[in-house]
Amino acid sequence: MVDHILLGLQVVLQPSNILSCFLGTVLGTLIGVLPGLGPVGAIAILLPTTFHLTPLEAIIMVSGIYYGAQYGGSITSILLNIPGESSSIVTCIDGFQMARKGRAGPALGIAAFGSFIGGTVGILLLMVLALPLVKLGLTFGPPEYFSLMVVGIVLLTSLSSRSVIKSLVVGAFGIFLSTIGIDPMSGNPRFTFKIYTLMDGIGIVPVAMGLFGIAEILTNIETGLKQEIYETRGLAASIFPTIRDWIDSKWAIVRGTFIGFFLGVLPGGGAILASFASYAVEKKFSRRPEMFGNGAIEGVAGPETANNAGAQGSFVPLLAFGIPCNVVMALLLSIFLIHGITPGPLLVKDHPNVFWGLVMSMYLGNVMLLVLNVPLIGIWVRFLKIPYALFFPFIILFCLVGVYSLNNNINELVIMILFGVAGYLMRKFEYDPAVLILAMVLGPMMETAFRRSLIMYEERFSIFFKRPISLGLLILAAFLLLYPLLRRDKKFPFGDAGEGALK
């Protein structure tokens, strides 16, 4: 282990990797601060740019955006009562109340320190847990992989705040979309309608940018996003929480770290689920539950710690099995694949510098974020004062240039705009667009695993039920699907799973 850590450090401390990490964390904080632009949209917009980087630089930067956004999101929640990220929704409840009472400083402070603790302990747990899971992953054949991916999609749908059946519709459609183009196994074109652009398949980037970049803007300009900032003078001076604050929030931080991490590891889990769960737990365990909603500091400390630990935890399934469990991880997977690296059980062995470099970059990133969010808090507050009306055209511009730069193909712009309209309508009719992206990324992997299982074992569909791990996973998936039907209260209490959108 020590050798590996040293290898990771050696890799990370190369100037270009430090720079990528810095850029990622700065961008992450920025998009966390800006309401109406989430990590999913931002990573989608930056995907084309990452093609010019080395694989490790790209992965370090994008990961930095993801966990950086968890830090930045709290600033907007506390000062504006608007969640900068969906994983900071619960932070609004007590954070904004603290700000109203003149305690914005300590609220921001405990959010930053809690995030740091949750994040760094999360990385430690990631290192401990990833290696045994990698060993498990190596024993998996195609049937197990197929069943595991079924569980991933089912979990995301059953955690979605929207109706499960609607998410399943979206998932099935996403899988269909992924089959468009030349079939890699037989060479036949599928659903291409002789349109040249469709031969290579529908790219994940235009779809993600449409569903999350363009659609979010359409939804926002329709409602008219108004923001009023709370008093921020003297903020930097009062940012350190008092000893009393630390005593009040210490258990919230400890619980938030573990709840957050393990919910993050679950396929379909991640930062958003983690923050909601932590808030619910803190309210339940508190000796002064009446303070929740009236500026309880533990109501800020718990969720903010949990969303960072959750962000780290959600890397585990991607690194150990090669299976993304939320949309950000799905986009990260596509970056790995574009650079010719397949994440999964072989990653540690074949690309130790990537694996350990990424893990170590997260430590570095969290230290940078602590600096960015405590002494430099004033800079981010200034960004809050830019009106949405002035920056949304720039988001559109990034989407347009980003998609065009992929292949210099106008048709991909049209695909993006079409999916922008589709995403807007899906939000209207309450379908979760996050499921579509996940299904589209998993689709080709699922199909390959599915067809290989059938061809290799020649046991028809029964092969998925004959192998114990595969059977167990499928039973789990069935249980997750049927569970809400058995329960009277059908609404899942933890809100959206994996959607970066501001809701």
Binding site: S186, T223, F429, M446, E459
Partner: protein, 154 residues
């Protein structure tokens, strides 16, 4: 009855049936031991059809629902701004190669700043010029994206 879910699920149902027919007519399904290229889209189409039919039936037989009218989804909202934005984006994509990046982006920004959330003309022109020229310099010159030159050839 939930009209919103009825309409939505009918669209999905149509897509699902289309996928099934498309896989059956134009692709080889194969057998369970020798799956063809059509098998996976076919299965996805079946799932899509079954799930959307379930939503449709549920929405039809649902007793109480505040969602009896699709038009309610757009009530009290600035839906025209959305229609404008979508239209302008399509025009942008269609004319980008002939008119060039610089001109189209300038026009797009002027429209978005002036029409969607109206700003003062001075600010509109200033920001639009800054954004289009800035983006051109950064993406085309520095990052070598090769944006379309169009009429002007620069």
């Amino acid at each position: 009855m939930n009209r919103q879910d009825q309409i939505g699920s009918l669209v999905w149902l149509f897509v699902g049936v289309f996928i099934i027919l498309g896989s059956l007519t134009s692709l080889k399904i194969g057998t369970a031991n020798d799956p063809g290229p059509g098998l996976f889209p076919f299965l996805a189409g079946i799932l899509l059809t079954v799930f959307s039919l379930t939503i449709f039936l549920k929405a039809t037989f649902q007793k109480k629902s505040g969602k009896t009218n699709v038009r309610d989804l757009w009530a009290t909202l600035h839906w025209k701004k959305v229609v404008y934005t979508i239209t302008v984006l399509f025009i942008y994509a269609l004319l980008l190669e002939s008119a060039g990046f610089l001109l189209m982006t300038l026009l797009l920004f002027i429209f978005l700043f002036r029409k969607i959330e109206p700003q003062k003309w001075k600010l509109v022109i200033g920001l639009s010029v800054l954004a289009s020229v800035g983006a051109y310099l950064i993406f085309d010159r520095m990052l070598q994206v090769q944006l379309p030159r169009g009429l002007f050839g620069f």
